[in-house]
């Protein structure tokens, strides 16, 4: 029996505000430990939280960008558990009245988006100085209280690859919103996954496990794949999946059950009495909407509607905005060239040649690609030859016309030069020539192939065919 994976992602995003979620301490990166603290983020007795206006603003931007419903009234809850990185003994988060609900990114639905505070950093330092033989750690509260937005997707993803691709799109969307550095390696974007499998064709959800610590896009894909394989193996072995939290180890690629922070797993959520509700006003919504850039989905629509691009091209360009930007630059220089043709060259030819890199960083000037596309349009160079020119442009940049000149890749018009080559080719392939004379049109292949070899692809196949037929009176 084959199994269908069911995957949902839970993403924590560190917001790029100036100060922390509930106090005026400036966010810091790589500063000396415990130099960004105050009574509030240290949980000193008597201190009280006050919510950061901009953090809420950023939360609303994310909600709008993902098409969520913004709650007219949302409140904070306390999530109670003991851990050294949690100074108050509870995390201020949102529970049953989050800032945003619903929405979608691409065809994956969003369950909720809520605000919370980040934990501090706990560093293991080994043997304790004080208690002999005991292991000790050290807490640095600089990160503690950093504003976080938690984005929870519905379990709409069906493969590790799809999960990775969707996460890339989400990261890009957040980057364009300018609400976060979205750097997985540095932890400003963190992804957990809920994974379950079910027999192909069934609709009931299987027991899910939660995967943590997949701190790169590659690891997200690998971790989920490993977990799917593990679950399928269990089920095929007649065993069952147990609901648990697993820690992914990128080195070994293995998944190990995580010791839970609170054995009893009873967070005793209750409304945070130190904070008042957030009531989103029309002004707040408008302020957030006003800052929304053109997001991938909208950009794709525009390409289809205004530039008549195919859905695939539009999507490919919109969801890799660096491609989209480059495409628009080329189009601007390519006077008259059809947008779809330019799109094909950017997504079909240039993109594979530059890989994940931003083509704007490559040696290929948008103007150069525009001229190359124009030359193909004018038939002064064949598509095949133009691909070779593009290879050269990617390798060392420069001007396409000059490369064509230097390499003699110019398309050979009619003229005697080509006729000579055709004549030689006909003589070199007597029996093929004979067959063509006797009406077997499809036998022309070897002769054309010969011509192409001689001209290194610079000949127009149609023109060559015409000349061969002409000379053979076929």
């Amino acid at each position: 029996m084959t199994y269908e994976p069911v995957i949902g992602l839970e993403i924590h995003v560190q917001l790029r505000t100036r100060t922390k979620m509930f106090c005026g301490c400036e966010l810091s990166f790589g500063d000396p430990p415990n130099t960004h603290t105050c009574p509030v983020c240290l949980g000193l007795p008597g201190s009280l939280p006050v919510a950061n206006e901009r953090a809420i603003h950023f939360g609303l931007k994310i909600g709008l960008a993902l098409g969520c419903d913004l709650a007219p009234r949302s409140i904070f809850h306390r999530k109670n558990y003991f851990y050294p990185d949690l100074p108050k003994g509870y995390q201020i988060s949102q529970y049953d009245e989050p800032l945003c609900r619903g929405g979608h990114l691409g065809d994956v639905r969003i369950h909720r988006v809520h605000l919370e505070e980040d934990a501090a950093k706990l560093v293991h330092v080994g043997e304790s100085g004080r208690i002999h033989g005991s292991d000790s750690s050290v807490v640095d509260f600089n990160r503690g209280g950093t504003p976080l937005v938690e984005i929870v997707s519905e379990p709409d993803l069906r493969s590790p690859e799809q999960a990775r691709e969707w996460l890339v799109v989400l990261r890009e969307t957040l980057r364009q919103l300018e609400v976060s550095d979205v750097n997985m390696e540095e932890g400003s974007l963190r992804c957990d996954a809920n994974v379950s499998v079910r027999p192909e064709g069934t609709t009931e959800l299987g027991t899910k496990t939660e995967l943590k610590n997949m701190n790169s896009f590659r690891f997200v894909e690998r971790g989920i794949r490993a977990e799917i394989e593990r679950q399928v193996a269990l089920l095929e072995g007649g065993e069952s999946v147990v609901q648990e939290t697993l820690h992914f180890d990128p080195q070994s690629g293995t998944l190990t059950p995580l010791r839970s922070k609170e054995e009893a797993h009873d967070y005793r959520y209750f409304p945070e009495p130190d904070l008042v509700p957030v009531a989103v006003t029309p002004e707040m919504t408008e302020a957030a909407r006003a800052e929304l850039p053109e997001l991938p989905a909208a950009r794709a629509e525009r390409y289809e509607a205004d530039l008549a691009l195919s859905a695939d091209s539009a999507h490919a360009l919109a969801f890799r905005p660096e491609l989209g930007r480059y495409f628009e630059a080329v189009l601007a220089d390519a006077d008259g060239a059809p947008a779809q043709t330019v799109a094909n060259w950017v997504t079909g030819e240039l993109a594979p040649r530059v890989g994940d890199a931003d083509p704007a960083e490559s040696r290929v000037e948008p103007g150069a690609l525009a001229r190359l596309v124009a030359m193909v349009g004018e038939r002064t160079v064949t598509a095949g030859a133009a691909r070779q020119v593009l290879d050269r442009l990617v390798a060392e940049g420069g001007d396409p016309a000059a490369i064509v000149e230097a390499e003699g890749l110019g398309a050979l018009g009619g003229g005697d030069e080509l006729a000579e080559i055709v004549r030689a080719a006909v003589e070199a392939n007597p029996d093929a020539a004979e067959k063509v004379r006797s009406g077997k049109g499809q036998a022309i292949g070897p002769i054309i192939g010969h011509v192409m070899r001689e001209t290194r692809g610079a000949a127009e196949a149609g023109e060559v065919t015409r000349l061969v037929r002409e000379q053979l009176g076929a």
Binding site: T17, R18, T19, C23, G24, C25, E26, P32, P33, N34, T35, H36, T37, C38, P39, L42, V50, A51, N52, E53, R54, A55, I56, R73, I75, F82, Y83, P84, L122, V123, H124, V125, S128, G129, R130, I131, S134, D135, S136, S137, V138, V139, D140, F141, R259, K261, E262, E263, A264, D266, R268, F270, P271, P273, L275, V276, P277, V278, A279, T281
Partner: protein
């Protein structure tokens, strides 16, 4: 009303060490108080909204402007145990 096992579970949640005889005494005292509290279960509270804030204010927000942080020496001076410029604790799970 609340038995030994529940007392031990709650004590664990609350990170409170309890000696054997304390468990029994706690069970007795909590049961007495809960017995009184139980009276509210007789009330009909159908459709009554819960009150978590007596004052109905909203959006008491703070501008995203930095305020002075505490000097680290002063902060660490209050700590029971310090190591590597931070607050030293026994390792979780150690």
């Amino acid at each position: 009303m609340i038995d030994r096992a529940e007392v031990l579970h709650v004590a664990r949640l609350a990170r409170l060490e309890l000696s054997g005889e304390e468990v029994d005494r706690m069970a007795g005292e909590l049961s007495a108080v809960l017995g009184h509290i139980e009276k509210i279960s007789e009330l009909d509270l159908e459709g009554v909204a819960p009150t978590s804030h007596v004052v109905e204010v909203a959006n008491a927000l703070r501008p995203d402007e930095p305020r002075r942080c505490l000097p680290r020496d002063e902060v660490l001076a209050a700590a029971p145990a310090v190591a590597a410029e931070g607050f030293e604790v026994p390792s979780p799970g150690a």
